[in-house]
């Protein structure tokens, strides 16, 4: 097989190619800057394969459409930005409680409200975790390069299918609109996970009864398995229940199916960490500035290291704890007023001094700003 050549592509484009490589065969969305390129490209690619693509009347409808399609057996995706992400929160909660796999891409721009539609920010990090009402686990990944856009889109689909839950790909305006040279892997080299299907006869199928994995098997709606899906708390048969002896195990399973696999979900990259005495923790476009700061700092003899977070939720606690160990100090630059730095401080447990570097003016944090901040606190 011919080796695939390097191509110049945009982050949003790489997200689409990653999704398609992962088997995405349904898209419903609503235009919004800076995510529109994802939908535009999907509108060209999906019909050519005979797959459904639809532009809905709003973001609420877009995610509803994806959840319906996923129940009927499709691998569905939608993409949006802040205002649309806010509108999607209601049905996102439905996806969590009814355990419906799908991928939601949120390309972050500055908010709240209309904010700065064409400017970068990282203000939706906690919204991605806690945006919908009620307590629930969330899986959120964040790319810093175009290559990671491709890889994480595949990863998000695999995790959605494996854990039967919506998964969020939290990109930002810079990474989504940036063009980089990327060499994509051969299709044969990509691992694809599909939802487990029931093997029992339809009469024996109990939709929300799980085996040891704690993840119920999802039958495609309309394929001989007749079952009920609801946003109410439900028993193993999917029927609404208020019985405490059914409600409590339901919630426990919803959390446990994710929490027992924290180590599988944790994804970070380390740069120059081996001998570093000063740690930078960053994610998304800010991780690019941080990597540059490490390079420049090292040239000046500073022992800087970077821990880049690719998984934001569940928070990669173990990797962060390990990186904080024995450091003089840690700096967390991000395009908000401290949404991840508060998590770092939470898990720090007195290991070192953690400083936040927040910026909210619609532009990226520069390597120099990081170096200057380090000089001030050192």
């Amino acid at each position: 097989m011919a080796k695939m050549t390097a191509t110049l592509m945009q982050g949003n484009e790489a997200i689409v190619l990653g999704a398609l490589a992962a088997g995405c065969n349904f898209y419903a969305g609503y235009p919004i800057t800076p995510a529109s390129e994802i939908m535009e490209l999907m509108s060209r690619r999906l019909p050519a394969e005979g797959y459904p693509f639809i532009q809905m009347e709003d973001e609420i409808a877009s995610i509803g459409c994806c959840l319906g399609a996923s129940l009927a057996g499709r691998k569905a995706m939608t993409a949006t930005s802040g205002p649309g992400f806010s509108l999607m929160q209601e049905n996102l909660g439905y996806g969590y409680i009814a355990e419906i796999p799908m991928v939601l891409v949120n390309v972050m721009r500055a908010g709240p409200s209309t904010g700065l539609p064409t400017n970068v920010a990282q203000g939706d990090v906690q919204q991605a975790r806690w945006g919908t009402h009620g307590d629930h686990p969330a899986i959120v990944y964040c790319p810093a390069t175009v290559k990671e856009c491709f890889e994480l889109a595949i990863n998000c689909f695999n995790l959605a299918e494996r854990f039967r839950t919506p998964v969020i790909l939290l990109a930002d305006e810079v990474v989504a609109h940036m063009r980089e040279k990327v060499t994509l892997p051969e299709p044969d080299d990509i691992e694809i996970i599909n939802r487990r299907q029931p093997t029992v006869p339809p009469d024996w199928y109990i939709p929300y009864k799980s085996d040891g994995s704690m993840i119920p098997l999802l039958a495609d709606l309309g394929q001989g398995f007749r079952y009920h899906v609801t946003g109410l708390v439900h028993d193993e048969r999917g029927f609404p229940t208020r019985r405490q002896d059914e409600v409590e195990p339901f919630y426990n399973r919803l959390f446990a199916k994710i929490s027992r696999h924290f180590s599988d979900l944790e994804m970070v990259k380390g740069f120059s960490l081996a001998d570093a005495d000063t740690l930078i923790i960053a994610y998304g476009c800010t991780a690019r500035s941080a990597a540059a700061a490490v390079r420049i700092g090292r040239q000046r003899g500073l022992k800087l290291g970077l821990l880049q977070l690719l998984s934001l939720w569940p928070f990669p606690r173990r990797a962060v704890e390990k990186a904080l160990e024995g450091k003089k100090l840690a700096l967390v630059p991000e395009l908000n007023m401290g949404q991840i730095s508060r998590e770092v401080k939470r898990v720090n447990g007195g290991r070192t001094s953690v400083y936040r570097h927040g910026k909210m003016n619609g532009s990226m944090i520069t390597p120099n700003e990081i170096l200057n901040h380090l000089r001030e606190v050192n």
Binding site: P47, G50, P52, C66, A72, G73, L221, G222, H228, P240
Partner: protein
């Protein structure tokens, strides 16, 4: 085809755990449930070919009783889930049961766009003129001057005409009936299911517990008798003068037209996309 036997209806219901149902004694939703099952059988459908979708409210609880694929979604969003299911599996018959608040207030945007799109879905909108489940607050179909828990001094907003709204938005098939007119309801449901485009059936149903009590309309029986008096078949309605129409409403098939079908048009898009990709 003759009447559907009780035992057939019985075989389409779920018996594990779900009865008795949640509705008030005298509610029209049970009558609709029976009619719906009978019309599904009359349409020659198998259980595995049908998916029932609903939103939130009293009507939202209907699908769980039927032994088909059933999805009880979020408030007002039933049509969006149904759109996804229908696009994902075009071979399925997707029926959406909504209330008046569900379909025309919080879900009003989805209703007009589903009608405009003309994707083959059946929207059954149960109109009881108020929010029944939450205690009788006014809805977009509450008549002007009526009382509601949030309009104690009389309702001051004009009401939506669900059928006219759906027709204007572009639905291929629009009909109206009441739970009193069971035979007609069954016939209209069957027609709606057979129609190839987006079809809307407005079903007037009494909420004596809330709307009836607050407006002194009497028991459920009195309210049913009211439907009998007020309902006029559309054929006769068209010959009536404005004065004669006062206090009445038309029932039957209000709109039945051939419009471009979404799935047929999308198949053409796919063919064009494939041709361009091949170049």
């Amino acid at each position: 085809m003759g009447p559907v036997h009780r035992s057939v209806v019985y075989s389409w219901l779920r018996h594990d755990k779900k009865f008795p149902h949640v509705w008030c004694p005298g509610c029209g939703l049970g009558i609709l449930l029976g009619s719906l099952v009978r019309s599904l059988v009359k349409s020659g459908l198998q259980k595995d070919e049908v998916v029932l979708v609903s939103g939130i409210g009293c009507s939202g609880r209907l699908p769980v009783y039927v032994d088909v694929g059933s999805v009880h979604t979020t408030h007002g969003r039933a049509l969006t889930f149904a759109t996804g299911i229908r696009l994902a599996r075009p071979e399925l018959t997707v029926i959406v049961v909504m209330g008046d608040g569900d379909a025309t207030a919080i879900g009003g945007n989805h209703l007009i766009h589903a009608a405009r799109r003309n994707l083959n879905l059946v929207a059954v909108i149960v109109n009881n003129l108020n929010y029944g489940m939450t205690g009788g607050q006014f809805s977009p179909t509450t008549p002007m001057g009526a009382k509601a828990s949030t309009a104690r001094y009389g309702h001051i907003e004009p009401a939506f005409d669900i059928a006219a709204l759906s027709a204007t938005a572009g639905a291929g098939f629009v009909a109206r009936t009441t739970v009193y007119h069971v035979t007609q309801m069954e016939k209209l449901l069957t027609q709606a299911i057979m129609h190839p485009g987006f079809s809307v059936l407005e079903v007037l149903s009494p909420c004596h517990t809330n709307y009836g009590r607050q407006n002194r309309l009497g028991s459920q029986v009195e309210m049913m008798k009211g439907y009998k008096k007020q309902a006029v078949r559309v054929e006769r309605w068209e010959k009536m003068t404005a004065a004669e129409r006062e206090g009445h409403f038309a029932t039957g098939v209000l709109v039945d037209r051939e419009l471009p079908l979404y799935l047929e048009s999308y198949a053409k898009v796919c063919a064009r996309a494939r041709a361009q990709e091949g170049k």
